[in-house]
Amino acid sequence: MATAKLYFEDVKGDETLPSFQLTVTRTHIVKYIGAGGDFFPIHHDEEFAKSVGLPSVFANGLMHGGMLTRVLTDWAGDGRVGRYKIRFASMVWPGDTLTFAGHVVKKYQQDGANLVDCELSVVNQKGESAITGEATVTLPTRK
């Protein structure tokens, strides 16, 4: 491997991961559906969504769940995520501005691997949680 983006020794116990924001459009939603393959009509068919009492289509959770992985990979480098788990807390609507964030919760060695556990979140413009997540990344050491 070439030089790593992040070494285990350099991780601080309470480190904040790089965050970013994005305002969701219907284009984001259909683009993700087209790439991901979940064609349940509630995510792309406005008439269907309204017929079941919703104000509009809402995003597939794995859309912002997929966007959120960037918080980890921009920080830890590529190919380092061993475990990624997300819980869907509320629906995301077109027009929502989402903040993607994360922080380190634990740094440890296990079975010869250098592991860092992180907590992750997607929160909307009202401060409501859309996703809570947890992940484990494996990092190289300097020596």
């Binding site: 997929g66 960037r70 190919g79």
Partner: protein, 153 residues
């Protein structure tokens, strides 16, 4: 109708999942991640990967390679679930190693655990886990997906 708990552990489908460079780029575009490791083969190789690698949640896109048209919906119905009363609770993926373009994985869809819990506001909730395992050409497990759906009584 009660969820058929006896289906826990049952293998539902098996399929081939070719990991294609163009599909990886399309998926990376869809999750708005500009990282060149998902697009530029030379960049990926300089990092020690054989080709561009797949984003963390990319194996989700294997849905296009499954025999069923809508696996989750069809499987929910086979399990006796009511799709109108169930929500997607959690998604988890375990990677044993990064997945690269040019590999052909073998996917299998399996029913995981099925169990009941009492809801916080009363009422029974049934948790249904749907898993996908992905194996490489050497038949080694490279990734596992676990989706949990929750049905309220």
């Amino acid at each position: 109708m009660a969820v058929k708990k006896e289906m826990a552990g049952m293998k539902m489908e098996e399929f081939e999942f070719p990991v294609e460079r163009g599909k990886i780029k399309e998926f990376a575009n869809a999750i708005c991640d500009p990282n060149p490791v998902y697009r530029d083969r030379e960049y990926a190789r300089r990092q020690g990967f054989p080709d561009v690698i797949a984003p963390v949640t990319f194996p989700v896109a294997s849905s296009f390679q499954m025999p069923s048209d809508n696996y989750v919906l069809e499987t929910s119905l086979k399990l006796g679930m009511d799709p109108g009363k169930s929500v997607h609770g959690t998604f988890e993926i375990i990677h044993k190693r990064p997945i690269s373009a040019g590999e052909t994985l073998r996917g299998e869809s399996v029913i995981g655990n099925i169990y009941d819990k009492e809801g916080k506001r009363g009422g029974k909730m049934t948790f249904v886990e749907m898993k996908q395992n992905f194996y490489d050409e050497k038949n080694e497990l490279v990734a596992t997906i676990s989706n949990v759906f929750i049905e309220r009584a």
